[in-house]
């Protein structure tokens, strides 16, 4: 019993927000009479939050270095506008446009990064300026009006679904197959890392807990795939998000680059004095953020099927909040990709659930604000406890 308690205690911080997400989903599931969990709504939920999640992943790196980027919402809108102008007004090829947009996104990130990393202007100020600059540019680009619709090929990135190779009537079998493969990979990797840890005599979860944890993960994946499969299958953006999540999880956990970013966030001076070029790291994180903002901008525009001057307004707040809810530290050095995803989903489910329940936008804001505050408060309390 004692060990059970200590296991819960040691892991509550890691899984706390995940558990909170599950409870929030259960709550809305019940209070919306099951509407929340309907395939069409789950699909919507994913599509609605895809751009926030894409940017949250980029923002994680920025937040881990110890700063924030306030310009992402404007950049997102700017790139959406750019895509619209190129494709709709000038009839550029879809893929050429996408490449140009990503490149411009990188350039925008480089602009922010240049001022932050090499000119030592506080990121808050640089990106606050960027927020104004790029919002202004999108207004200029679009002449203050909405531009659309997009070619169908472009729309598909945000609202399309993966093709079904099995053509099983009424059920998207490919989605299930992908889910099974994914589950096997995850369980295998977790098992391998557990075995390795045991070899080095590190503490590992006791076997029943290990099995329990994997069972939950697998049933979550399979559940999601099943729900999706009974609608139209897995959306393209979900695959995109999944791939990004995996790549960035690997970058943050397994690569030298990730290690250096965390070290820099933990203690920039010490990292610099360890022979690491921290300016370049910071620059990289902003460029990366720019590219992901551009990607999110295109997804958002494609989903609305038009670019509007107001697109991306105040997205930065949701993106930053998602990271803090997911356990990232405001002082840098702490945070995970998975945390950012969970944080984004908490915000997304709250939005979605409250909308279904018919709660007004004013109270939605209040509740979201309270959730952010409580999540961080919970984190602080946990830290103080473990500090003693």
């Amino acid at each position: 019993m004692n060990t059970f308690k200590s296991i819960i205690k040691n892991n509550i911080r890691q899984y706390g927000m995940l558990i909170a997400l599950v409870f929030i989903m259960i709550f809305f599931w019940i209070s919306t009479d099951g509407i929340l969990m309907r395939p069409v709504n789950i699909t919507n939920l994913l599509l609605q939050n895809s751009y926030i999640i894409i940017m949250a992943i980029g923002m994680l790196l920025i937040i881990v270095t110890g700063v924030v980027d306030l310009s992402v919402g404007s950049v997102c809108g700017f790139i959406g506008g750019l895509a619209a102008v190129l494709m709709v007004r000038h009839h550029f090829n879809v893929y050429v446009t996408m490449l140009i947009c990503l490149a411009i996104g990188a350039a925008v990130g480089a602009w922010n990064g240049f001022w932050v990393a090499y000119q030592k202007i506080p990121a808050f100020i640089v990106t606050l300026a960027g927020m104004l600059i790029f919002r202004g540019l999108v207004l200029w680009l679009l002449n203050g009006e909405s531009v659309g619709p997009f070619p169908e090929e472009f729309q598909r990135i945000a609202s399309g679904f993966i093709p079904d190779v099995f053509h099983y009537p009424g059920f998207h079998l490919t989605s299930i197959v992908i889910g099974v493969i994914l589950s096997i990979i995850i369980v295998f990797l977790d098992y391998r890392s557990r075995r390795n840890n045991q070899k080095y005599e590190f503490e590992v979860l006791p076997l029943p807990f290990f099995i329990f944890k994997n069972l939950i993960v697998v049933s979550a994946i399979m559940g999601l795939c099943y729900v999706m499969a009974s609608y139209k299958g897995l959306p393209n953006v979900l695959i995109l998000m999944g791939v990004l999540a995996v790549i960035y999880t690997i970058i943050t956990n397994k690569t030298v680059l990730g290690r250096r970013i965390y070290a820099m966030g933990g203690n920039e001076k010490a990292t610099k004095l360890s022979g690491i070029n921290t300016d370049r790291l910071s620059f990289f994180c902003f460029v990366n953020m720019g590219v992901l903002s551009a990607l999110a901008g295109m997804v958002f525009a494609a989903r609305l099927n038009s670019a509007t001057p107001k697109a991306g307004n105040s997205f930065e707040m949701d993106v930053i909040a998602a990271n803090y809810i997911g356990g990232a530290s405001t002082t840098g050095g702490v945070g995970t990709v998975v945390g950012a995803l969970v944080g984004a989903f908490i915000m997304g489910v709250l939005n979605n659930g409250m909308s279904i329940m018919g709660i007004n936008i004013d109270w939605q804001q209040v509740i979201k604000g309270m959730v952010l505050l409580m999540a961080v408060f919970f984190d602080v309390v946990q830290k103080n406890k473990s500090g003693k």
């Binding site: 390795n196 590190f202 030298v256 290690r259 965390y262 933990g266 203690n267 010490a270 004095l273 022979g275």
Partner: protein, 512 residues
Amino acid sequence: MSEVILEMRNISKTFPGVKALDDVSFSVRRGDIHALVGENGAGKSTLMKVLSGVYPFGSYEGQILFMGEERHFKDIADSESVGIAIIHQELTLVPMLSIAENIFLGNEPRKNGIVNWHEEVQKSKEFLKIVGLRESPQTLITDLGLGKQQLVEIAKAISKEVKLLILDEPTASLNETDSEKLLDLLVEFKKHGMTSILISHKIQEIKKVADVITILRDGATIETLDKGRDEITEARIIRDMVGRDLTHRFPPRESIIGDSIFEVRNWNVFHPTHSDRKVCKEVNLTVKKGEVVGIAGLMGAGRTELAMSIFGHAYGKHITGQVLLHGREIDVSSVEKAVKNGIAYATEDRKSLGLVLIQDVKTNVTLANLENIKEGMFIGSHKELNAATYYKNKLSIRCSNIMQKAVNLSGGNQQKVVISKWLFADPEVLILDEPTRGIDVGAKFEIYTIINKLASEGKAIILISSELPEILGVCDRIYIMNEGKIVGEMPVKDASQEKIMERIMLTQEVMG
């Protein structure tokens, strides 16, 4: 026998898993300077935190009697109100406020709710006079040196009508002159009847000013020595502190010195912000394989600046001169290049410049040479674990395991992690800047042993230290630095503390 002002009876304080204080009794006579010594982790700070109310009544066992009354302090404000003031090692002044504002912070003289600036400045002047600080009360703290800031702290304590002044390692970061001044001030206060408790690692200064010395070890009082009654010797204090005879404060070593491998020629460095100030002037030095070279000097002599400027221009501007390794000039224009070219520098400020405190031992050890643990595109976790385990054993880093966070290690073990980090980067020249600052006698001995071992493995080592006995005990050859210049060089067998100080003083006069 004068009256007892403070008595702490049978104090015990337990943290989860550790008994920090075990039935400690401690009494202080009015008007004494009472020194409290012990290794890091012996319980000195915990005892003082119990006394000052940081650990409130009820969180410890035992009794506190202050001025004849039993006291139950709830917090610091509570203990301050009866006249107990504690001055921490890390100063608690607000840098962008003036001296006067700092002295009266939280205690501002008011008239109808509005701060009475005149009174504040006038009173501050009096307090500054008492502590012997000749500065305008309107000077900002950030414009003062550490020594003067320390005096402002004391003035602040006095302004609260302090009866018992507790100083936690007040001279740890001061140079010799400032330390001297501070100690004189304590003696001066004593004449006016003030009682002080002095926590210190520096045995010489304790011997000089303390009337009574209490030695703590592992949370228990070992001995209380009374000047005049007991014979007070360094050896005795050290023996009490570490619980064993340290006949040799320095491990013996046999130097096998090879050819000169590292050379700095005509090195000039300017101050990063005051670009007309030259911090290092025409510095030349060489280090041989297997040799430990000391750089002695007072605080502000430019030693750290020299080291950091050599280490990838991490300090200074308009740097000129050459750095040669094995006779070939190397590029040290960035830290990255310096490390690649075989130079390592373990900073004097390990907490803010040496370690990523929120990360674990393993991550800190491998930080400077991540390329070495790469497997394909990724960090090889086996390689990393092996590397960290290797250094944990080699330098006997005491941690529960290598996944422990650096912030939770003691000072000595943190220093070992910093050294491990640089050893893992496999440098040819290792610069150690004050490697034993703020760590206890036992851990110091271990660090010296490590230095010897590294030298015998053929590394060239530069040791910067403000403690002359350390320089004399560890080095083969000594450079003496003053005001940015190398003013002397001597093999250790010809050197003594007097000779080194003489050289510094002599050059100072000539320049002055």
